[in-house]
């Protein structure tokens, strides 16, 4: 038997000028979700149940970029994606292009458990959602006034930008907007959005991970990021569970989540060393962060950008909720 451990995140890359009130709100939500996870773990819920439960909670709250409160596409619509992975047998499920499903992470789980596939997207995924009878809402339910405002600004600046929760009035002062940043060789500023995620190792030593997001503000319709890609945004196996957040393109190219597991398995690194190694060596000019747990009951996180909304707790009573370094 191993002590359980849990970590949650609400996104990497935070505006240094984020008002204290918003920081407080974020920390409270993370604390609340952490506590939900902890209660479940104390009543012996399995890792995969806990990650789903916690991410559902994050999706339902409009504060972060997933489910309700998702970033908007260039067309002003919401296209949500998520994935979940159960380390024990490396079962996985993923969804993309959801426009009405209230809890993408739960649909991802249903793909894993009730379909012969691992990944469903767009109208096929929406159809599956109806067959499965999951809760659905009109697309408008997911759109918040904040995000409508952000999209407008993003279009005006013609950039794809961080989707962090700054009040619109403070936009001019935001340090993150550097139009000289390049992505894929094109002169567009890219900023990591606030995806949400959760990783858990339960008292049986089973690891699981789940990630959910609305994606990049002003993204092209049809754009898929790292969050639903197994090995990139989410990964879990016998030794660990990992959920990433940040510049989707950098995470995909670096197969970030899988990388943590690979250096543990193939180089024998411990969890924190593995996380540090990956953040240091696998990101080049990309910005990202991740949370991870190991089957030994350890929890770790790392990020190479300005802040990451996160919380972690272990069975021996350790608990922390932080934003900055």
């Amino acid at each position: 038997m191993v002590g359980w451990a849990i970590a949650v995140h609400g996104g990497a890359g935070v505006d240094p000028n984020l008002p204290p009130r918003r920081q407080e709100e974020a920390k409270q939500l993370l604390t609340h979700c952490l506590n939900l996870g902890i209660s479940a773990l104390r009543s012996n819920a399995s890792a995969v149940d806990v990650v789903e439960l916690v991410v559902r909670q994050l999706e339902s709250n409009p504060l972060f970029n997933s489910g309700r409160g998702s970033a908007l596409t260039a067309k002003g619509t919401v296209e949500m994606e998520a994935s979940i992975m159960d380390g024990a047998k490396r079962r996985c499920g993923a969804v993309s292009g959801l426009s009405t499903v209230k809890n993408p992470v739960s649909l991802a789980r249903l793909v894993m458990e009730k379909s012969p596939h691992s990944y469903l997207a767009f109208s096929g995924a929406e159809e599956f959602a109806r067959q499965q009878g999951v809760e659905v809402e009109n697309n408008e339910y997911f759109i918040t006034p904040d995000n409508v405002g952000m999209l407008k600004l993003a279009k005006e600046a013609n950039t794809i930008m961080f989707d962090y929760r700054i009040p619109i009035a403070g936009y001019e002062k935001c340090a993150g907007l550097e139009s000289s940043v390049k992505m894929n060789g094109l002169p567009i500023s890219i900023y990591a959005p606030e995806t949400v995620g959760c990783v858990v190792v339960d008292s049986e030593g089973r690891c699981a991970a789940a990630t959910s997001t609305g994606g990049l503000m002003n993204k092209m319709s049809g754009r898929i990021g790292d969050s639903p890609l197994i090995g990139a945004g989410t990964y879990a196996c016998e030794v660990c569970g990992v959920s990433c957040t940040g510049e989707g393109e950098a995470i995909i190219r670096g197969t970030l989540a899988r990388e943590v597991a690979a250096v543990m398995e193939y180089k024998g690194l411990r969890l924190q060393e593995a996380v540090d190694f990956v953040i240091k060596h696998r990101l080049d000019e990309g910005f990202a962060g991740l949370i991870a747990v190991s089957n030994k009951g350890e929890v770790a996180y790392g990020f190479n950008c300005n802040g990451m909304f996160r919380g972690c707790a272990t069975e021996d009573g350790f608990m922390e909720v932080e934003i900055w370094e």
Partner: protein, 323 residues
């Protein structure tokens, strides 16, 4: 060290494949290999070469990509592809295409002309129109063979690997039962190449699984699963998409080389023979040093390879036809 190239037309080819179905595919593999050889000899970059070869494989109706793609459970076409440049680690992927003649080329355009890596379904089709790539009515991709395959699969009520015996996917227990009898004889296509400077690239393209659910995405468009290239190697996988995704197969070959310092062949063999269930996966891979590996744990795999010193082979089962 000279250049090296390897390509595949799908893993899981039953021994019972009749000559009239085998020969056109062998010819096609030979033809595409020649295209790749000429291109490498004329100093084309590996990235251009893999795209060129996969374009050719997509046009040929005998393989499960582009024309000749297998059908969804609604009798429709949904194609996907990805491409990766080992030098820059830039990559592009597309899914859910219905009218684009060359999915791999659209994947390359996503990589080069957008700030994103992966576009799918309507958004990808829209992008295709903006980019002015060749599109045709979806019916163009549908072949008689595939209509037949879909009918068989529906009768048996199962999801079928396009190229091989149908499998039962027991979703409740999360396990996959081994192959039953039946055959499908087509496959995902892919190509990997390295030039004499050690530049690597990989590309993969497919129509997916016979009778798949509409919207199902497989490994072919998931970077790290079906396609991967870095400065050590380039890999393109084929087989049961769900297994390849879970096993991050293409990435795993590179990871074993990097972290355990294994050779290409050793790494590829471990992934195929020790880390994935028998009967599910095959891959082609080349290394920066010019090695080639083409292991598979299925009955056969349509494949071909060549190196600059003049060696070339086309094979389906374990006896290669040395050219």
């Amino acid at each position: 060290m000279g250049w090296a190239i390897a390509l595949h037309g799908g893993a899981g080819v039953p021994y019972s494949l009749p000559p009239e179905r085998r020969q056109p595919r062998e010819e096609a593999l030979r033809h595409c290999l020649q295209i790749g050889i000429k291109a490498l000899n004329s100093k084309m970059t590996p990235l251009d070469v893999v795209e060129l070869v996969v374009r050719e494989l997509e046009i040929i109706p005998h393989f499960n990509a582009g024309r000749g793609s297998v059908l969804t459970n609604k009798g429709t076409i949904e194609m996907e592809a990805s491409i990766m440049d080992g030098n820059t680690m830039k990559c592009g992927a597309v899914s859910g295409l219905t009218t684009v003649v060359n999915a791999v080329s659209l994947a390359r355009l996503v990589m080069e002309n957008t700030p994103h890596i992966y576009l799918a379904f309507d958004g990808a089709e829209e992008f295709a129109r903006q980019q002015g790539v060749e599109t045709v009515d979806s019916s163009h991709f549908i072949t008689e063979e595939n209509i037949e395959r879909l009918n068989q699969a529906k009768e048996a009520n199962r999801v079928q690997i396009d190229y091989t015996q149908p499998i039962y996917n027991d979703t409740k227990s999360g396990t996959e039962t081994p192959f039953a009898n039946g055959d499908s004889q087509t496959g995902t296509v892919g190509c990997v190449a390295v030039d004499s400077n050690g530049n690597l690239a990989s590309a993969t393209s497919t129509g997916g699984l016979v009778n798949k659910m509409v919207g199902r995405i497989g490994d072919t468009s998931v970077i790290g699963a079906g396609t991967y290239a870095n400065e050590l190697c380039a890999v393109s996988a084929t087989g049961v998409g769900e297994v390849i995704i879970r096993g991050t197969v293409a990435r795993d070959v590179a990871a074993l080389m990097e972290f355990k310092r294994l050779s290409l062949k050793e790494a590829a063999n471990i992934v195929i023979h020790e880390r994935t269930p028998k009967g599910t996966v095959g891959l082609v891979a080349v290394s920066a040093a010019g090695d080639i590996a083409m292991p598979y744990n299925t009955p056969g795999m349509f494949r071909a390879s060549a190196t600059e010193d003049g060696y070339s082979e086309v094979a389906i089962w374990s006896e290669p036809i040395i050219e």
